[in-house]
Amino acid sequence: MFDSLSVNGTGMHVHQTWMNALSDNISNVNTVRATSETAFQARYVVAQSLEDGGTGDGVRVAGIELGDADGRLVYSPDHPLADAKGYVRLPDIDMGEQMTDLIMAQRGYQANLSSLDRVRASYQAAIQMGRG
C-alpha cells in the first residue's frame, strides 16, 4: 500500500546522496597533496533504476565512482608539500560544474518532494470519499 510514497523516497535518497558527494567534492576543492601521492578524486554517484517488471520500484545508488587521480600540478614552491621542482598536486575539480550539478541535485530532490506531496493529497482525496 502507498507504493508511490516509498518510490519517491528512493528518488530523494539518490539525490540526497548526490548532494552529499557534491558537498564533499566542493569541500575538498583546495585539498593539496604532494606529487608523490594521488590527488583527491571527485566522487560521482551512479544511479540505477529498480525494475519490478511493472511501473518500477524507484532508483538506487549503484555505487560511487572516483574521478581523475592525477589531478593537476600547480607550481607552488613555498608550499611545505612541494616537491624538488616546486610542484604540488591539486584535485581536478571544476567548481562551475559542481555548482550546476548541485542545482540539478537540489531541483531533483524538490521534484521528488512535490511528487510526494501530490501523491499524498491524492490518497487523502480518495479517503475523503468515504467521509460524508
Partner: protein, 118 residues
C-alpha cells in the same frame, strides 16, 4: 507526529474491540432466532470482515512503529536521511486516516442496521 495508538488506545486492543464488535454485529443482524452459531454464513462473513480489519490494523501498527523508530533516530541523531522519517510519518498518517474512515463507515452501517424498525 502523534499517530501512535489511535486516540491513546493500543492498536492491538482496538483490533480486539473491532473483532468483538464485528462478530456481535453478525449476531445482531442474525436476530434472536438465528444466532451466529446457527448461521454459519453470517459467522463466516463476520470473521472475514474481522480479518480484513485486523490485517489493516496490524499493517497500520507496523507503519506506525516504523515512523516511531525513525522519530527516535531523528531525536538521537542516528537518522541519516531526513526524508526517511517524513515519508514513514506520511505513510502512517494516510494509513491511519484510511483505517479510521473504514471503521467509521462500518460503524455507521452497523448503527443503520440497529436502527431498522422491527
Amino acid at each position: 507526529m502523534a499517530v501512535s495508538g489511535v486516540g491513546g488506545v493500543n492498536l492491538n486492543q482496538l483490533a480486539q474491540m473491532y473483532r468483538q464488535q464485528v462478530v456481535s454485529g453478525a449476531d445482531g443482524t442474525g436476530g434472536a432466532a438465528r444466532t451466529a452459531a446457527g448461521d454459519p454464513t453470517a459467522a463466516a462473513r463476520g470473521a472475514d470482515f474481522g480479518n480484513v480489519v485486523r490485517d489493516g490494523l496490524s499493517n497500520l501498527e507496523n507503519l506506525d512503529r516504523t515512523a516511531q523508530g525513525k522519530a527516535i533516530q531523528a531525536a538521537t541523531g542516528d537518522l541519516t536521511d531526513v526524508h526517511d522519517y517524513v515519508i514513514a510519518a506520511t505513510q502512517a498518517q494516510v494509513a491511519t486516516e484510511l483505517t479510521t474512515t473504514v471503521r467509521n463507515k462500518a460503524l455507521e452501517a452497523f448503527n443503520e442496521i440497529m436502527r431498522m424498525p422491527l
